[in-house]
């Protein structure tokens, strides 16, 4: 796993394309995710962001193009294989295991990193016992990290919305990812929660844990607050990429979000 | 695709070796297919709208057969050799049975499936199996464990007899009655408001509701039509095969379901195509004296085809209209 071979990029997507019948959802998008950074993927609704995510995580097979993770080609591999290779994710609509407790949810996330199989689980070898105990301890630590340790044995569906989002992050962290994909993590959060979350991503995940984070986000405060780089998709194509500030001023981006009229307006007011 | 090719080769060989027997079995297969088509359409209609495999459907067909025999003989005094009044009686029996089976089917939906509308998808499926067993035993309690015979009123004389191939009237009658029923169904689905409501609900229940369609009523109506089709099939089958038994519904129902799947479940013309295909395959298997396993193995053959289709081409021959599975 040499950084020189990958140019310091954790993930490289080249000319990735997804077609559904006649509809082109993602149109030859190339994308890199450098190690240790927080990258935001933004764009109007229907731009293809979640479809792109789904291709990165193996839920969809790209119609064309390649995806390389840590130097290894993972194009079209099934989701569990990609998770095993180091991508963890959360979902746009929370997909926790509602009727499992918080700690159980997190322990499911550890599935790939554990080794117990059918046979030694039945016999419960000392190895399995130790593994389970260690997993349980690690799960509690993860819950502690997101501030949910008190609710470890609460059923996921009984948690308030904000805490469910945190649990999803804890579960994703349990897969021990190198790259964490967050799909609209602050949807439905109030400004206070969003601010806390922004801090969490920048300070805790990136700086302390040294994780690489790729986020789909709509909340511009979050995006501008923590991103090292922002990429913009519109109608399945990448229309801009750069620092948050650069992207904010980009004409095409403004046009995509607000329409041509808005761009004209801004030009007339000399803001461009 | 290879399979189809192989089958075609075998069939051609058989056709050339004993053409009259081939033609004979083919024609019988078509009659089978007609009956299966009526049942298969019922499955496909319900699946299209609820994504539910209504296991009990075949048993409604069986009840229809029993009902037809009972009404025909006890109420109308149907028996062999009655002359032209037979036509009237058969017609009346057909209509009444269709009504009865339609109501039974709609009632089943109301009692057993509607309360489970919000439950995970497997719940109504399990319930349908329970209902299927209940109906089978209702048939058992009503008419006993043995075959019930219907009066043999369809004439057996030949429509035509060409080179050793006899096509008898009773087969033709089945087809003659089936075709208008199918056309009526087509007209209903394509051209009436109710039909449009059915198609809309099948595509997207929530959107249909927003558009002002009474989803519950539409679903009930679909079950009514499906039941009526099963009733028609039951009537025709009982008069053609002249025997009905309480456990036939399940077996024949599963064959018809396979037909619906072959054609592409949710797809109406597909169901008919699939039914004809299955009818032919069954007939060829049982009638032709070649290396086919024979009638002992019909069930297995049909199920194997079902499994192969579901595994390799779940959208069936003509593809599904609903957005799942393909």
């Amino acid at each position: 796993m040499t950084d020189t071979a990958t140019d310091g990029n954790l993930l490289v997507a080249e000319d990735v394309r997804k077609e559904f019948g006649g509809l082109i959802a993602v149109n030859n998008v190339s994308f890199t995710v450098p190690r240790g950074r927080v990258i935001s993927l933004i764009g109007p609704n229907g731009a293809g962001k979640t479809t792109f995510f789904n291709m990165l995580t193996g839920v969809y097979k790209p119609t064309a193009g390649s995806i390389t993770l840590l130097g290894e080609d993972v194009t079209g591999k099934p989701p569990h294989a990609i998770t095993a290779r180091g991508i963890g994710r959360t979902f746009q609509n929370i997909r926790l295991f509602q009727n499992m407790s918080a700690i159980e949810n997190v322990m499911v996330g550890m599935h790939t990193r554990m080794k117990a199989n059918l046979f030694n689980s039945i016999i419960r070898t000392p190895f399995v016992k130790r593994e389970e105990a260690a997993a349980r301890a690690r799960a509690l630590d993860l819950l502690q990290e997101v501030g949910l340790r008190r609710k470890a044995h609460e059923a996921a569906k009984n948690l308030p919305y904000g805490e469910q989002r945190k649990l999803e992050v804890a579960r994703a962290l349990a897969t021990e990812p190198q790259l964490l994909l967050l799909d609209e993590p602050t949807a439905g959060m109030n400004p206070q929660e969003s601010a806390e979350f922004t801090q969490f991503v920048g300070h805790h995940l990136r700086d302390e844990r040294k994780l690489t984070v790729l986020m789909i986000e709509h909340d511009m405060r979050v995006v501008m607050g923590v991103s090292d780089r922002v990429s913009v998709l519109d109608y399945g194509e990448k229309i801009a990429e750069g620092s948050p500030r650069e992207v904010q001023r980009n004409e095409r981006v403004i046009e995509a979000y607000l329409g041509k009229a808005a761009v004209e307006d801004m030009k007339r007011q000399g803001l461009s | 695709m290879i399979f189809v090719g192989l089958l075609a080769v075998l069939l051609i060989k058989e056709a050339t070796v004993s053409p009259s027997q081939f033609a004979q079995t083919t024609l019988i297969g078509l009659t089978n297919g007609a009956v299966y088509a009526l049942i298969a359409l019922g499955y496909t209609l319900v699946y299209g709208i609820l994504e539910l495999i209504n296991f009990a459907h075949g048993d409604v067909f069986m009840l229809g057969g029993m009902f037809a025999i009972t009404i025909g003989t006890h109420v109308f005094g149907l028996h062999h050799g009655q002359g032209p009044v037979t036509v009237l009686i058969v017609f009346a029996t057909l209509i009444l049975t269709m009504l009865a089976c339609g109501s039974i089917n709609a009632t089943i939906e109301f009692i057993a499936y509607r309360p489970l509308r919000g439950a995970p998808r497997l719940a109504p499926l399990i319930t349908a199996i329970g209902v299927s067993f209940i109906i089978q035993d209702v048939g058992l309690a009503w008419k006993g464990p043995n075959y019930v015979t219907a009066p043999d009123v369809f004439p057996h004389s030949n429509v035509f007899s060409v080179g050793g191939v006899d096509y008898q009237w009773n087969h033709l009658i089945v087809v003659i009655i089936t075709v208008p029923v199918l056309l009526a169904l087509l007209w209903l689905v394509q051209r009436t408001r109710q039909g449009k409501a059915m198609r809309a609900t099948a595509q997207d229940k929530d959107a249909a509701a927003i558009m002002g369609i009474n989803v519950n009523r539409t679903i009930s109506f679909t079950f009514l039509i499906a039941g009526a089709l099963a009733g028609a099939a039951g009537t025709l089958y009982s008069l053609w095969a002249t025997t009905v038994r309480f456990d036939q519904g399940f077996q024949l129902g599963l064959i018809a379901f396979t037909a619906a799947v072959i054609g592409g479940i949710g797809n109406l013309p597909g169901a008919v195509l699939g039914a004809v295909t299955i009818g032919l395959i069954q007939s060829w298997n049982e009638g032709l004296p070649w290396h086919m396993p024979g009638s002992d193995w019909t069930q297995s053959l049909v199920f194997s085809i079902l499994i192969l289709i579901l595994v390799f081409r779940p959208e069936g021959l003509l593809g599904e209209k609903t957005p799942e599975g393909g």
């Binding site: 979640t50 059918l118 | 399940f250």
Partner: protein, 576 residues
């Protein structure tokens, strides 16, 4: 209830008046009515009357404050039965009461221990037990063996349906595979024939033909020189399980990626094809190969036993051959071979339960539940869907195979007539009734339904036919029931009570009306399938989580899961 000033309807008025009475009086009236009910039932069948009376008594005893009233009342009730009624019932009551006095924490250890103990000693006290109302005598030991076999199968299916959420409608295929594997390896099925005179064909042989293939590895009670493959039955059980598991993996590979309802149909298909192969296997696909001996089945199978060496080593406690064992007699009961089969079955069941519990709380068990709840999320968390589902399938198949093999050995035969689709549904009914996912519920549900199937339905039938003749007096009594029950229904506040009363009303109505239409005698076992279907329907509509639900499952069924299978997510339209 009853806030409006002037309740207009009759029920409303009665209800209001009722609630005006003080609590004690109301309780008194209800108890009195229930006792009258029991009394009336006495006229139909004494056992039923006393049974209902006992149930009423126990129910109200638990409303009393524990000490001293409850204890005293319990003691009185037990004494009553010990003195007057069937003594065994008194002992049972005493044991049941005692269990509930044990603090909750210890109870989870004591109850299974007591249950296992009770099961082990069953052959000894089976003959002395009281008559159960309606169901008659307690099941005999042979029925007990069958019950245990079916419980094993239900636990196996529970892993597939209850844990992993895969609807398997073809479980009978595994049962058949296990049974036939047993038959292949402990019988003369593959003996073949040849003439001892060299060079002479079988058809022209002038002397008796001898078997062509002989293989013996640890078989018991075998005459030397018998043809066919024979191996030790213990090895065989394991082998059957393994072969069935492999078979499960083989059919799982192409089919487990299908979504729920398609998988159900495909498993149904296999569940139909396999028995048909068994039935027609004497002429496999028209080729003349006799694999399964067709409709005649394969019989006899070798006996089971521990062999001479082990038997001598344990001084005869472990019999060398189950079928020729047993001269010992304890507690006034002559031990028979059926008893030995029963005890071995208990051991097999305990192993099955053990494995199932261990799996439930392991990494794999969590993965199964995750798949059941939300397949796509599970995959995203690193769970390999196909592999994990296949393990569930294989495990279920293993236990089904072992159960099937043991059953075949017990009956020393296997016939294709034993296997048909209804059995798959029957076992599914057990899992549903018991509570999908909860192993204790499944055990109870399975034992009860297996009992019904073997003896229960027949006994119920004969009870109905003798006690409910179209005697006008009985019908009158039935009519009074109805009135009383309706009266009580107005008052019943608890869910469970209401379920029971609704159930009683339904049964009563059915009998009342049915007896007018259907002519006794009714052959109840004939309608077994319909009854199981009815059970499925009622459970799914009223209490889909089953008798003893896994608390998780109850929530899922009432509130739904994220149902979209990964297969569909991958093939679905754009989700931009």
């Amino acid at each position: 209830m009853g806030h409006t000033a002037e309740p207009v309807d009759l029920q409303g008025r009665l209800s209001a008046r009722w609630h005006e009475l003080p609590e004690l009086q109301r309780t008194g009236v209800v108890i009195a009515l229930e006792l009258v009910l029991a009394g009336l039932l006495l006229f139909i069948d004494k056992a039923l009357g006393f049974g209902v009376g006992a149930v009423v008594a126990v129910y109200w005893i638990y409303r009393l404050p524990p000490v001293p009233w409850r204890l005293a009342a319990q003691a009185v009730l037990v004494a009553l039965f010990l003195a007057l009624g069937p003594r065994s019932f008194g002992i049972l009551l005493a044991a049941a009461f005692a269990v509930f006095w044990i603090p909750e924490r210890r109870r989870s250890l004591v109850v299974p221990a007591v249950a296992i103990g009770a099961a082990i000693f069953y052959p000894f006290y089976q003959g002395h037990m009281f008559t159960i109302p309606v169901f008659g005598s307690w099941p005999d030991v042979a029925t007990g063996v069958v019950m245990l076999v079916f419980v094993m199968m239900a636990i196996g299916l529970n892993i597939v349906v209850g844990y992993a959420g895969l609807l398997d409608l073809g479980y009978v295929a595994f049962y058949a595979t296990g049974a036939y594997t047993a038959a292949f390896f402990t019988s003369q099925q593959f003996a073949g024939q040849k003439c001892p005179t060299p060079g002479v064909s079988v058809t022209n042989c002038t002397v008796a033909v001898v078997p062509r293939h002989k293989f013996d590895f640890g078989a018991i009670g075998l005459t030397p020189g018998t043809g066919g493959i024979h191996i030790s039955v213990w090895l065989l059980l394991l082998l059957s399980g393994v072969i069935t598991a492999v078979f499960g993996i083989v059919i799982g590979l192409p089919t487990l990626r299908l979504r729920g309802d398609y998988l159900a149909i495909v498993t149904l298909g296999f569940g139909e094809i396999l028995p048909q192969i068994a039935r027609n296997g004497d002429n496999l696909f028209g080729t003349g190969v006799n694999l399964t001996n067709g409709p005649n089945g394969i019989t006899p199978l070798d006996s089971i036993g521990f062999g001479n060496r082990l038997s001598d080593a344990t001084g005869g406690v472990l019999p060398s051959n189950f079928l020729t064992c047993c001269k010992a007699s304890h507690f006034g009961h002559q031990i028979q071979s059926t008893d030995i089969f029963f005890w071995v079955a208990i051991v097999l069941l305990l192993i099955t339960v053990f494995c199932s519990l261990r799996l439930q709380y392991s990494r794999l068990g969590r993965a199964w539940i995750a798949i059941r709840e939300d397949e796509t999320a599970a995959a995203a968390m690193g769970i390999p869907l196909m592999r994990t589902k296949t393990w569930a399938y294989a495990s279920g198949a293993f236990f089904g195979g072992v159960a099937g093999a043991y059953y075949a050995v017990f009956r020393s035969a296997t016939f294709p007539g034993d296997f048909f689709f209804n059995i798959s549904v029957f076992i599914l009914c057990m899992v549903i009734l018991g509570g999908m996912g909860n192993i204790w519920g499944v055990i109870i549900g399975a034992a009860f339904l297996a009992y019904l199937n073997q003896e229960g339905l027949a006994n119920t039938g004969s009870w109905l036919n003798t006690n409910l003749s179209a005697n006008s007096f009985n019908l009158l009594v039935a009519g009074i029931f109805l009135a009383l029950l309706l009266w009580l229904l107005v008052r019943a506040r608890e869910q469970m009570m209401r379920y029971v009363l609704v159930g009683l009303i339904v049964v009563d109505l059915v009998l009342f009306v049915g007896l007018r239409i259907i002519h006794l005698p009714i052959d109840v076992p004939l309608y077994a399938s319909g009854i199981y279907g009815l059970i499925i329907l009622i459970v799914m509509l009223l209490r889909p989580e089953g008798l003893i639900p896994s608390r998780r499952r109850a929530a899922e069924l009432h509130e739904g899961v994220h149902d979209e299978p990964l297969y569909d997510a991958v093939h679905a339209g754009a989700e931009a």
